[in-house]
Symmetry: C2
C-alpha cells in the first residue's frame, strides 16, 4: 500500500508544526529508523534516526522556525516544499530559503530527506 | 571544474525566459545530450535530448508560461526552484504548481530534471 498525498501533506505539516513548538521528538517522528538526510545537498548524508535527531537538535537549539512559502507538491513517493527557516546564529537572526524533498516509505515515514539551499539563500533576517 | 551557482541561476532563468518566448530550441538548449527528465516524478523518465524536445514541444504548443514563485536554491550540482506553469488544455486555462530539480554537469548543462507536482497542484486558472 502506497502513501497518499494526504498522508504526505500531513507529515510535512506535522514536521513544520513540531519545529514551531521546539518539539525535537515531533520533528524526528516523521522519519523512518533507517532514514537518510542530506542537509544541505552536497554535504555527507546523515544515516539513521539517531544521526538525524542529533542534527535536528542543533536547529531546535537555534530556535529554528519553518514557514511554508508555497504549496506542497506531491509526486509519487515524494513531497517537495519551499519554505523559509528563521533561526538565531550566535545572536544574529538569519533567514534561509530552502526547498526540501521528502521521500516516503509505504508506512508514510520519510526515508530520504534532501534540503536544497546555498550561500545565496542565507540572509540576515 | 564545477558549475557555479551563478551559472545554475542563469540556466534556470534562460529556461523560463525561453518558455516565455515560446522558443522550443531555447528551452532544449539548457539540457545535455544525454539528459533525463522525469516530469512528473513517478512517470517513466524521458531519456535523451530528442525525447525531451518532443515532450517540451507539447508544453510550448499549449502556450506554457513559467513564473518563479520564490528564489532559486542552488546546492552542490543542483538547483531547485518553485514555480507556476500556466497553459491551455483544450481551451481551459490551467495553472500547475511545480518544483523542479535540475542536476548540472561540469559544462553547466542539465543532465537530470525532475518535476514535482500532483493532481492537488493542478487548478483552473
Amino acid at each position: 500500500m502506497s502513501v497518499t498525498a494526504a498522508d504526505q501533506i500531513q507529515a510535512v505539516e506535522a514536521y513544520i508544526a513540531a519545529y514551531g513548538r521546539g518539539d525535537l521528538e515531533g520533528v524526528v517522528a516523521v522519519f523512518a529508523d533507517n532514514a537518510t538526510a542530506e542537509d544541505p545537498v552536497g554535504s555527507p548524508p546523515l544515516v539513521g534516526k539517531t544521526a538525524i535527531r542529533d542534527f535536528m537538535a542543533v536547529g531546535i537549539s537555534m530556535g529554528a522556525q519553518l514557514t511554508l512559502e508555497g504549496p506542497i507538491r506531491c509526486a509519487g513517493d515524494y513531497a517537495a516544499f519551499p519554505f523559509v527557516v528563521t533561526l538565531d546564529i550566535e545572536g544574529q537572526a538569519m533567514r534561509i530559503e530552502v526547498i526540501d524533498i521528502f521521500k516516503f516509505d509505504d508506512e508514510g515515514k520519510v526515508v530520504e530527506m534532501r534540503a536544497f539551499f546555498g550561500p545565496e539563500n542565507m540572509k540576515p533576517a
